[in-house]
């Protein structure tokens, strides 16, 4: 019997195993280092994209004028960010794309005004007549009213119920409302995107990182049972109907007349020139916007926004005239149990039977009961000063406004 005891074979075998193990370790080490570097780079890209949004917040006006800017944020040659801003209805959208060695990261944010700069909860232009309060009217917060002040009244058998006339600071208002930014309406109208003919869609989603789509229909567009989201403008020459089954998110609707069916819920911005009607129990989620801009041609009836009973609007409502029509001013009608959380700005007259949690700026107040019409009367109107700290308004005023993020967009 021969016993071969060649330990060199065992050694070589063991060496091979150790070598394989070492090779694996080297590969693992290099892989983790690569991964680490990549993660580091991605984190840096994310941080730079966020910094780009902050840069955009501080330079919005310049970005809106100049278009996209490629900025090397910290002068280190690897912090390049392409920043741009564009109007999206009453708000602004900032896009920030950081890029380095073929890798890129995109952040898109909708921005608005951090505070409502005047901080008034109610502001009624001083036309020399007092405001009469009836029923369960309650005015909270800072108010600006005519020098002739507030007085108690009794409308439709409902006398004023509260002990005090207002619950907060009271100041005299001026003859005119705080001025709007000179360009806000023009900016809202001039959404410079390519136009496509409207055809009914079951579902459509356009990212804010892409180009917007502007659909234009002939006369009437029926948005019923449609799911539309993102950077889409839908315009009809005559009217748009929004059914309760539709799901709309961040979409802009433009027409002469926009009618929203009872029970609808969504986030939309509406621009109309004659009428915006919200039936009962409609919820427009934050940040929605309703803008009525009446043109000089309308002479026979008031352009009007009507908020139906138990409806809620979270965002803003604006009614403006291109040229003042004293006989038929623009009109906002907020019905009983309807609530607006945010800002209402009206260059015409407002009927408030519901609640505004935020601010109401109006040239005139009116009240229409089944039996009569009253000027400067509030019946069961509630003005509250209870908005969350981080509520963001559309930047509509001429005065300097500090901007902040409302939401991140896809």
């Amino acid at each position: 019997m021969k016993l071969k005891s060649s330990s060199i074979y065992y050694a070589l075998f063991l060496s091979l195993i150790i070598a394989l193990f070492l090779g694996g370790m080297i590969l693992f080490s290099s892989f983790t280092r690569q991964l680490d570097t990549k993660l580091e780079m991605q984190n840096s890209l994310i941080d730079n994209a966020k910094s780009g949004i902050e840069y955009g917040l501080a330079n919005t006006a310049e970005l809106l004028e100049s278009g996209a800017q490629d900025v090397d944020l910290f002068g280190r040659q690897h912090d390049s960010v392409l920043i741009s801003a564009k109007k999206w209805g009453a708000y602004t959208v900032i896009t920030s794309q950081s890029h380095f060695k073929g890798e890129q990261f995109l952040k898109v944010a909708m921005i608005g005004s951090k505070h409502q700069p005047t901080e008034y909860n109610l502001y009624v232009a001083d036309l020399g007549r007092p405001i009469t309060l009836s029923g369960d009217t309650k005015l909270e917060g800072k108010i600006g009213v005519p020098e002739t002040g507030l007085k108690r009244g009794n409308i439709a058998g409902q006398p004023y119920q509260n002990k005090r006339l207002n619950f907060g600071q009271r100041l005299n208002s001026a003859r005119t409302l705080p001025e709007l930014s000179s360009t806000i309406i023009e900016e809202m109208k001039s959404l410079d995107v390519e136009i496509a003919p409207w055809k009914s869609q079951d579902s459509l989603d356009v990212s804010f990182s892409q180009d917007a789509i502007h659909f234009v229909g002939d006369s009437f567009i029926d948005l019923d049972q449609e799911t539309i989201s993102g950077q889409i403008i839908i315009e009809a020459r005559d009217s748009i109907f929004v059914g309760k089954e539709s799901e709309l998110n961040n979409v802009i609707l433009k027409s002469k007349v926009v009618y929203i069916e009872e029970g609808f819920q969504g986030t939309i911005q509406v621009m109309a020139s004659q009428k915006i009607t919200l039936e009962q129990n409609v919820t427009l989620k934050y940040p929605s916007n309703l803008t009525l801009c009446s043109t000089a041609k309308q002479i026979n009836e008031s352009a009007c926004i009507s908020i139906g009973s138990e409806s809620q609007v979270l965002g803003s409502i604006m009614a403006v005239s291109e040229s003042p029509n004293f006989r038929y001013p623009v009109q906002i009608d907020i019905q009983e149990k309807a609530t607006v959380h945010g800002l209402v700005y009206n260059q015409g007259r407002t009927q408030l039977n519901g609640t505004i949690n935020g601010s109401l700026f109006t040239h005139k107040i009116y009240l229409e009961t089944p039996s009569s019409k009253y000027e400067n009367h509030l019946l069961n109107a509630q003005i509250k000063d209870d908005l969350p700290e981080d509520f963001v308004f559309p930047p509509i005023f001429k005065s300097k406004e500090s901007l902040t993020k409302i939401q991140w967009l896809k």
Binding site: M1, K2, L3, K4, S5, S6, S7, I8, Y10, A11, L12, L14, S15, I18, A19, F21, L22, M25, I26, S29, T32, N43, D47, K50, S51, G52, E54, Y55, L57, A58, N59, L73, F74, D79, K114, S402, L403, T404
Partner: protein, 118 residues
Amino acid sequence: MAEMTKYRLKSFTLFESVISITIISVLLAIASMIYGNLMSAENPISEFEAKQEIQSLLLLADAQEVILNQELEFESYSIKQTVEPFKGNTKLLLLTYEVFSLEGDKWLEQKHLKATNE
């Protein structure tokens, strides 16, 4: 003895053993170097903690009206937050976060922008 002559033990035991021990030693030396290299990634856990801490400071800065320079001491590192106007623009702040070891070595530096209400 006659029994033993039946078995021929052919081996290079000493020579082979020396070579094999040498090979294995070299390989183990390389292995320990690689392992050491992997483990000596400048306190990866503390560095990770420091990065998380910077994110918390950034969130805090978002909620604050006024952001001040500050230096924060932690168990195995310190973070220095420096605030200055970005390129002279008072509407935009440059926040620089530097992380130092207890010995004073700089581990990392991060820069962020923050718009203000000025």
